[in-house]
Structure formats: structure tokens, C-alpha cells
Subunit: 484 residues, 2 copies
């Protein structure tokens, strides 16, 4: 018998017997898999969902439950923000940078409002209010926050800024778990059969078409026939060190992967069927340096004492640029008007203090005239409301001139730089896995972080982009699979 492997499909004619048969098989029970299952069931398909953990969740459940939505939602309008699908599309393309999938950006922008309505129809609760300021996640149950680089250069010159992070109503951080719980409930109500503790280990192929999946359950091999299609929704490869070494070695500069069994197996399965993995070097990272919020007013310098970005960008964009800097750390500079004790989990330490920036410079053992010159230049222009170097903008742009002063060390190896991978299978806007010639592979679909989607470019990430991608393109994949 042909070996059962992630790396090559198992021939259908060697399947001894089908242990399960259904219309649509979904692999993975995070947000992408849940939405694919719901939509496939709504389209009339019989759906089985296989999840390797004992329950739903995936990396989605580790998130804040924040979804990037725009184009003029009720909450945006109530808060006085104008937004249109065109502006949203423009932002999404800027956020995708050189990796942007323009067709996905356009479709999502066009469908964002109806997707929001769909989420609400599934029962996702939104309080409906706008929370001003810089937040990684609301600490209360607010809905709308600035969750990207919308108001910062160059994004603000490419698309009219509006806040677009829509957070599930949930008190405090961690809205991802209740979001998934709710999607799970909907999926089960619709008759989706969930088989937990089951690991997909191969696809089943008939001719060039995918017709099923091989799973391991209770240490036994089971063959699952998918009459219409298989949807891969298994997440990225952040927990697979071998794949990171081959495709994304820059992530070894940092140490805090966010994932839940994200071992890239879905990407391997897709490739085994002829799929194409793209932008595999891209990753999101962030150090939570904007907590407490007053720290968002800080200035970031590299070990040369030079600024390297407008710090009013999304915290993850700033962090991603930080990881590009020479050496093993950057510094967040604050004055007494803005410094508060950073949270312990950030693992950022005070590396230098001083009555003036010259003293901080000396404490950091930087050469005279580096950091101090940077800060004199910065403060001089900030007083005039300008940042001629990087175009940081008010109100985040503010002089840091009230001593004493402090430099916090954001060390790539020891501070908390969380990360996950963004590269994955190339899919159509309908979630079809495309082969290397760009043609859909019959019977094979994918969504979420085992694909390259809306959050394609590490330097352009914005909170909520991955869940937007997972939920919307998960639905697309489920619906398409059900109609296949």
C-alpha cells in the first residue's frame, strides 16, 4: 500500500474502505474552519469537521476576537467616521504591500458590510461604541478601535483614515475564545459533525481531484470521503521549526510564537496536491510596547540611536521594523510625562535613565551625539507639530522633554516579541487551492493562515486582518466547496 504521508496524496483506488462519508470535510476548528463549516452547511452540504485538539479554538481562540471591517458600518457611522468600500480596499492593498492579493482586497472591501451583517446574524454581539486612543485590545467591552496604521503615514495618504477594528462584546482581552465558542455553537446547530482529537495526515486523490482525507483517530487510520470537497483550515507553520528554518528564518531572531498546533500540516497537504505556497518569508510580530497607552507617545531608536519609523504606526508594524534593525534590540524612549511601569509580560526592562537625554545616552553606552541628537531634533520639530524624517503625526507626535527620561530595552531575544507566520497556500477568492499553474485543484479548498490572504505582509499587518481573512474567506471556501 502507498505510504500515508503529508507529502503525497493517497490514491483513492487504494482506500480499503471509507470510514466516513460526507459532502464537505473541513480540517481545523479555528475561525476559518468554523466559518467554512457553517457556510457549507447553510448551502445544504453534509459537513464533517476534523480537529486535532480536543476542542475548537486554534490560534483564533488566542486572539482578541477583533475583526477588520469597514466600508461604513453602523458603529463607524455612529462614531462619525466616513468609510467606503473603496477606501477600505485602498487600505487593504497598502497593508498587503508587495504581497497584496488585489482581488482578495477588492472582494473583501466590497463584501465587508455584508460580512459584518453575517457575523451579527451568527450572534456575534457588538456593543456598538467607539473607543478612542491606542489599544491593542479594549480592556472593557467596547467595539470599535483603531487597529492598524490607518492614521499614520504613508497609509493616511493612500486611504482616508477610519478605525476598522470591530471587537466582539466581551469584557477585557481575549475575545477570540468567546467568538470561536459562538461559531462552534452555530456550526453544531447546523448539523456539522465535529470529530475532535483527529489529525489529518494525507489527502486522498482520484486522478487530479481531491476526494477525501486520511485522519488518525485513537491511533488508528481512518479514511474520510468528501463527495464535494476538502477545506484545509489548519493554521500557519509558526510551531514548525523545520519549516521556519527553510522559509522564514528571520523569525529565529525572536522567541514567542503564537499558535496552537500550527505546524504547517495544511500547507504541506495542499502542496502535496500540487498547491503553491507563497510569501512564506512573511510574518507578523509585535512587542506590546504601547502598553500602557502613554507609551504609544514614545520614540523608538535602534542601537545606533537612530529612529527608523513613524512610531504612530500600528504597534506591530513598528515592532516588525524593529526586528529589521541591526543588533539585538531597540529602545523605547519616554519622558516623565509618559512613562509608567510597563506590564511584566512584555519583559521590557529599563536600560537607562537620565535627567536629560545626554545622560540616557551615556547610560546606554551610546556614543555622544547619537541618541541625544536624535531627541533634540525630534523635540524641536515635535514642538512645531512636524516630523520631517518619518512624518509621525499629532496627537501621537509630542515632545518628550519633561525629565527625568527613560529608555526601555526591547530585546529581540528576551522581550516578548510574539509572532506568527503569514505565508501559505495560494487560493482564489473562492478559497480554491490553486496549483502552480494558477488553476484550481478540483475538490481542494483552504482558508486562514494555511493560506496567504489579506494579512500577506508583515510590515503592513493590522489587528483584525487575520480574523477578517479567516472568517470571510473561510465562508467563501465553505460555500464553494458545498457547490462543487
Amino acid at each position: 500500500m502507498t505510504e500515508i504521508s503529508l507529502y503525497s496524496p493517497f490514491p483513492a483506488n487504494e482506500v480499503p474502505s471509507w470510514d466516513f462519508e460526507t459532502d464537505v470535510v473541513v480540517v481545523g476548528f479555528g475561525a476559518a474552519g468554523a466559518c467554512a463549516a457553517i457556510e457549507a452547511a447553510d448551502a445544504g452540504a453534509q459537513v464533517m469537521l476534523f480537529e486535532r485538539n480536543s476542542g475548537s479554538g486554534g490560534a483564533s481562540a488566542l486572539s482578541g476576537g477583533e475583526i477588520y471591517i469597514g466600508g461604513g458600518t453602523d458603529v463607524q457611522i455612529a462614531a462619525g467616521f466616513e468609510d467606503t468600500p473603496e477606501e477600505l480596499a485602498a487600505y487593504l492593498k497598502a497593508a498587503g504591500g508587495p504581497c497584496a492579493d488585489e482581488a482578495k482586497c477588492d472582494l473583501y472591501a466590497q463584501e465587508s458590510l455584508s460580512h459584518y451583517a453575517w457575523l451579527k446574524a451568527q450572534g456575534v454581539p457588538y456593543r456598538g461604541n467607539y473607543l478612542p486612543g491606542k489599544h491593542i485590545e479594549p480592556t472593557d467591552d467596547s467595539t470599535l478601535i483603531w487597529s492598524g496604521s490607518e492614521a499614520a503615514a504613508p497609509f493616511c495618504t493612500l486611504a482616508r483614515p477610519a478605525p476598522r477594528g470591530h471587537v466582539i462584546q466581551h469584557m477585557g482581552w481575549g475575545g477570540g475564545r468567546p467568538l470561536i465558542d459562538l461559531l462552534e455553537t452555530r456550526a453544531r446547530e447546523k448539523g456539522v459533525e465535529v470529530i475532535a482529537d483527529s489529525r489529518a495526515v494525507a489527502l486522498v486523490q482520484e486522478g487530479a481531484a481531491i476526494v477525501g482525507v486520511v485522519v488518525r483517530i485513537d491511533n488508528r487510520t481512518r479514511f474520510v470521503r468528501a463527495r464535494k470537497g476538502v477545506v484545509l483550515a489548519t493554521g500557519g507553520f509558526v510551531l514548525n521549526e523545520g519549516m521556519r528554518r527553510k522559509y522564514c528564518p528571520q523569525t529565529f531572531r525572536i522567541n514567542d510564537p503564537i499558535g496552537d498546533k500550527d505546524d504547517g500540516s495544511g500547507i504541506e497537504l495542499g502542496i502535496s496536491a500540487g498547491g503553491d505556497a507563497i510569501h512564506m518569508d512573511q510574518f507578523f510580530t509585535t512587542c506590546p510596547w504601547t502598553i500602557p497607552e502613554s507609551h504609544a507617545y514614545g520614540v523608538m531608536v535602534n542601537q545606533q540611536g537612530q529612529r527608523f519609523i513613524n512610531e504612530d504606526c500600528y504597534h506591530g508594524r513598528v515592532s516588525r521594523a524593529a526586528v529589521d534593525q541591526p543588533g539585538d534590540r531597540v529602545y523605547l524612549l519616554l519622558d516623565s510625562a509618559h512613562f509608567q511601569q510597563p506590564p511584566g509580560f512584555a519583559r521590557v526592562a529599563i536600560a537607562g535613565t537620565g535627567e536629560d537625554w545626554e545622560e540616557v545616552e551615556r547610560e546606554l553606552e551610546m556614543p555622544e551625539g547619537t541618541l541625544s541628537t536624535t531627541m533634540a531634533f525630534y523635540n524641536r520639530h515635535a514642538r512645531e507639530g512636524r516630523d520631517p524624517l518619518f512624518d509621525k503625526r499629532t496627537p501621537i507626535l509630542t515632545p518628550l522633554d519633561q525629565g527625568p527620561f527613560v529608555a526601555l530595552e526591547l530585546n529581540f531575544q528576551t522581550s516578548y516579541f510574539s509572532f506568527f507566520t503569514l505565508g501559505g497556500l495560494r487560493t482564489s477568492t473562492d478559497g480554491e487551492v490553486l496549483n502552480r499553474a494558477g488553476t484550481p485543484i478540483s475538490g481542494l479548498f483552504a482558508a486562514g493562515r494555511c493560506t496567504s490572504g489579506l494579512p500577506a505582509w508583515g510590515h503592513g499587518y493590522s489587528s483584525g486582518l487575520s480574523l477578517a481573512d479567516c472568517t470571510f474567506f473561510g465562508r467563501q471556501a465553505g460555500r464553494k466547496a458545498a457547490g462543487a
Copy 2:
């Protein structure tokens, strides 16, 4: 009949008849293919070489014919440089950065002297002298030049510096063409049958093994049986815009691909057989900013007026870091002691001049106190023989304080930034193409830029690394294929 495609192997049992039969098939007649063919023939195999152009060459023939060799060659010793295989290995690993294939680095370092002897035995002439200074290629027929970042930080702290660029004896630039001519002559002498104007369009597979290749000759499909193995030596994908968009989109910041039909077809063929393409985002680039040589003493700043690297690194490492900078250009700053008219082909223009650096700053419309402060700081420390920011070293480290001064604009879109891709198939040190599980694919070998090899990391490239990789690992692949 199964479709003939780069993307899936053609089944051997559908081959109507073999139009050609041989032991080893080599695809591509650059340096890698030539060396594979020579070595396979020397091992007693019957060899056929298929080349899509009308003659030999590939990107190798566009090169300077410079090969990265060390460990204590006759020329190194005669010139008074100490080098060992261990120091060479350490440099190669540093040059590979996060993408380094340590086994390849170690093997090449260990075998570098014997490889050099082999090249000479093939008739590659070396004048035997050392040419001091900073040269992209010798303008005379000299042999040994500094061709990397050996003497620059951090490389000089990781491996004892020695020049290792060994250039074929050839008057002026362009030693790649005579190098290939010579290898072609050797290959033909050894009975290698060369079929030009033939394009490989599919591999032929029997079970999991590769047993041949499908080629198009005179618009007809021909089936070639390889009794022992197929060696892919088709180059990178720099001329395939679709592949660049999917895997290496940062190259769209620059405009001058170097290649000759480098369309990635060998990478596609390898993947079709289950191969794994790695580090596909990596690319070499250089702007010839060190011509004339006095310009190597210049200082490079980004549009913020900040330095970003020790400019005594290899010109390509500096250029690669330049392309990472914000905006669309960097500036090369020179004083009257070092400025000469740059060569026309570099397409670098004078963007600003001045009697002092403040005036240059104003002409570049940079904010007051940016470039001028950078240069005051640089000059102050250069006078003391120090570069506290980036550890640039003497003698390249020198004050630029003799006015008038000039800033040359290196514009990513309009200046000459040549580039080629470095990502490709993952191979063993014997040139076996590895499948995604890391196991050799029976009958399939690869070498050169359709693989990821010694020059794995764009930021660590050094001249001669690619030809070292092509020639040495081409030989490895040819020998292993002949013994298969």
C-alpha cells in the same frame, strides 16, 4: 495521454518511445551544468546535455568568471595571506546568515583547494597575482581580489579575513564567457553530447523515481531516457515575473535583472517531482557604487540622512541594505578628494553639491541637522580611526572633509541595481534534490541557482559565491548522478 507540464511529471509508462537514451541527462549549459556533465563523464557515464539557447552560457557567462576559493591557495600564500578551511567555513556560514546550509559550507571549505586544483586541471588559467584594493572585477587579468565582506564587521570578527575571489586570467571584465567556453570544450572532449535549442518541459517519472525528461526540439516533443539520473542546472527565476511576484516581490523595487532565460523552470520541474524550494525570498543586488574605486571611501545615507551600514562591506551587501531603506533612494556622499565622475552605466546622478555638508543637505532638501549632523559625527570619529555606529574600519574609513562635497543619488527605480534570485531547490551536499520530508528523490539532482546553495542570503552575498556553488556542487551532482 497525460498532459506534458512543468508542474507534474510525465508517467514513464505513457512514453510512446524514447527518442534519446543516455546515463545522465544534464539540463542547462551554464557553469553548473557544464561541471556536472564533465564530472559525470569522468565517472564513466554517458552524458547528454540539453540547453534551451543555441549555445552554452547561461547567467554564468554574464559573470566575471570569479570563483570564491580559499583555505590557503597558492595565490593567497604568495600574497602573504593566511587562510584555512576552518576560516573559510566560518566566513561562508556568516555569509549565509539565517539561510546558511552549514553542511554545504563545511564541505565546500574542506574541498575548496582540491576544487581549485580541479579547475586548473580543466585548464582554467590563473595569472597568480594579488590585486589590492576594492574591485568589482579586475580591469586587467589579475587573479586574487577581495570579493566579499571579509575585512568588514561583523565578518572580520567571525573569520580571519583573507581575499578569496579567484578570477580566471582574462583581460578586463567578463571572464565568465571564457570560463564557460573552456568548460564547454572539456565537456565535449569527454564525449558529452550537447543538444542546443532544446527546452526541458517535463520530467519523466516511474514510481517515485525520475527516469528521464521531456524536451521540445524544433517544435517537437522528444522523450529522453536517463538511465542513472537527471541533473537540473537551469538557473534561477529572475526573469519570471510571476514567480518573483509570488516569492520575491521586493525585487520589484529595482529594475535590472541579470539572467539568460532564468525563468525558474528547473525549480518548477524539481517541485513537480516532490522537491522543496527554500529561501525563495532571497536575492542578490548591487549598484556599482564602488566604481571608480575612490567612491568606495564614500558614506551612504538614506533619505533621512542616516547611515545604515558599514560601507566597507561588499558593495552588494551595502546595496542590498540600501534597498531595505525607506523611500526610493539612498545617497552616496563624497568629498573632492574622492569624487570622480561615475560610470554612465551606473545611472547615478549628482543630486546635490555644496561647499560644506550643510549646503549639500539643503540641496537635497533634507531637514537641517540631518545629513550634516551625520557627516560631522562621522568625520569627527573617522579622524580618530573609529566608526562607533557601524564599525567601518580603516583604510576605507576616512574623513570626508575636503570640500566641495557631492551627493550621488542611487535611485532604486532608475539607477542600475542589478539583481538575481538566490532561492531554489533544497539539495543534499551530493546535489540530490530532497523531497519535502528531506529524503533524496531517486534519479533527480540539481545544482546552481535553481537550488539554494552557498549564496543563500542576499545580505551576505560575496562575488564568486555563486560560481563556487555552481562549479563545485555541479560536480557533486554530476558525480552522484553517474553513480546512481
